[in-house]
Symmetry: C2
Subunit: 337 residues, 2 copies
Amino acid sequence: MIMIKRIGKYTLKFLDEPKITGFGSVAGKKEAEGPLGKNFDKIFYDPRAGQKTFEKAEILFQQEALTAALGRADRRAEDIDMVFAGDLLNQCISSSYGMKEFRAPYFGQYGACSTMAQSLILAAIAVSSGAARLSAAVTSSHFCTAERQYRMPLEYGGQRTTTAQWTVTGAGGCLLEPQGRAPSLAAAVIGKITDLGIKDMNNMGAAMAPAAAGTILDFLSDSGSSVRDYDLILTGDLGRVGSECLYNLLEREGVDIKGRHNDCGKMIYGENQDVHAGGSGCGCCASVLCSTILPDMISGKYKNILFVATGALMSPVSSWQGSSIPAIAHLLNIQAP
Amino acid sequence: MIMIKRIGKYTLKFLDEPKITGFGSVAGKKEAEGPLGKNFDKIFYDPRAGQKTFEKAEILFQQEALTAALGRADRRAEDIDMVFAGDLLNQCISSSYGMKEFRAPYFGQYGACSTMAQSLILAAIAVSSGAARLSAAVTSSHFCTAERQYRMPLEYGGQRTTTAQWTVTGAGGCLLEPQGRAPSLAAAVIGKITDLGIKDMNNMGAAMAPAAAGTILDFLSDSGSSVRDYDLILTGDLGRVGSECLYNLLEREGVDIKGRHNDCGKMIYGENQDVHAGGSGCGCCASVLCSTILPDMISGKYKNILFVATGALMSPVSSWQGSSIPAIAHLLNIQAP
């Protein structure tokens, strides 16, 4: 009996629908002050979280997110057969240092802001195939570690463009198991790298929107479903600018998602929080999913959603060398228990 | 019918044994001048490979390795259902820019020098589960891109310690399919992060040896097999120093691999090539596997091998902040057709 069936050209259907039996979320001060503030499992008001460096704080975020997920699923670290984790830092150190305490078989992932969806898909394949009885997906980001790695020292106080996004300080972690009364992963599309030639590192929403549009269209076509079959189409962190681009791209193909769309980068901060185009980072969609969306599926608010996380796969070096920004979007169809 | 069975605590047994139907290798000038020089599919004598930058050259290496693998398997890029690729560069740009031309569903991997084994295990799980009919694993490294990212500008001419390793300029790519007369993946162990407190970035062999020892012992214990069941136990890039550490660690547990062990980092360069402790980098074990070991399995030289790739999961930032080096080792049991 096969457990994963390919439908159409790009869609994987998980016949046994792996269950998200545990989830945990961590947020920083700014995120705690936003509209989702009361939903996070753990909030660190100090950007160093009592550690010596911002990087060590982000490592702690990953540990706390996974610990909260284990607590919710009533599981222990020793039960984890495979963990997929990733972050934005060079050599993914938030993940490697964060996960080493758990002593679980480990695979480091890099998909920029799409890493949570990437990790969830791989964790689902692992559980569906029998390779893991319990798998985990964990990602994080931190405004202060990202700023000093990608942009300028914070003390420099550089001005931000209106299309710029704000890296979320936070993390999310999920546990997947074959059984359980919990939200389940019904299907997925693994994204292809899409590059329409955008080179502006301060407008990543626009760079990522074509990847999101492509993946959503692939899924609708493969599955024979339509936008109205889903309560919510949730993109990762296109932000305000990227979301508008996505609407335009999909409208050209006769698909209107506006009434059912939201974006984690728009949800996590209030209009008054001066974050320009919205939130971003591996911790953005991970913390929104694990603090707000999964509980909303358990409570019955959402029954059937598409979670589409996007990532921009450039680096400062590739940008300095004049290359445009390749982007990717992975999709998960998550269903209520 | 399950396709992947868990044996013991850490071992995955692939019941249908995915086949490595295609493989391709790329090397630079120094590697071409070494003992395996005549085995590589493609050699670039110019470190820029005709591109404007070293990074763009490394991107090309990934493309050439996968193209050679596709050629050997008589497959086209459109046939690839899933590609797992990784490299040492920040944000894994050799992989994202390298793979985008192939337009295949993509998952970026980061496991430092263990990335080829990590990617092969995930590609095998994908094929075994039915998630992919054809999956690919590709990794690369480049002496010049690694030196300028991790160490010093080449022009600085810094002196190297005797325990230092030399980053291999090269790449390897494999294609996996459920059927075919080709070397097959019979079993795997996904490594756990191991950190014994070593902080010297110039002695990574010693930092990685405990991870390799742990993974090998886990596999022998889970599978109930012994060293003499394997023609070759091939580590990724422990080099001369790390290999001696591995022998010592295993001897304490009553396991002697010396007569059957080799290390890709030792094989790729000759004694006269002044590389100190040996080769390293994601391209080291990938290019040795795809140029030499897999052909040797097809020719009958080896029947049953263990391929154990190790990775050091620190970054310059974690080292500057005083953290020790976490290491990992993934194991694959590869059998001749």
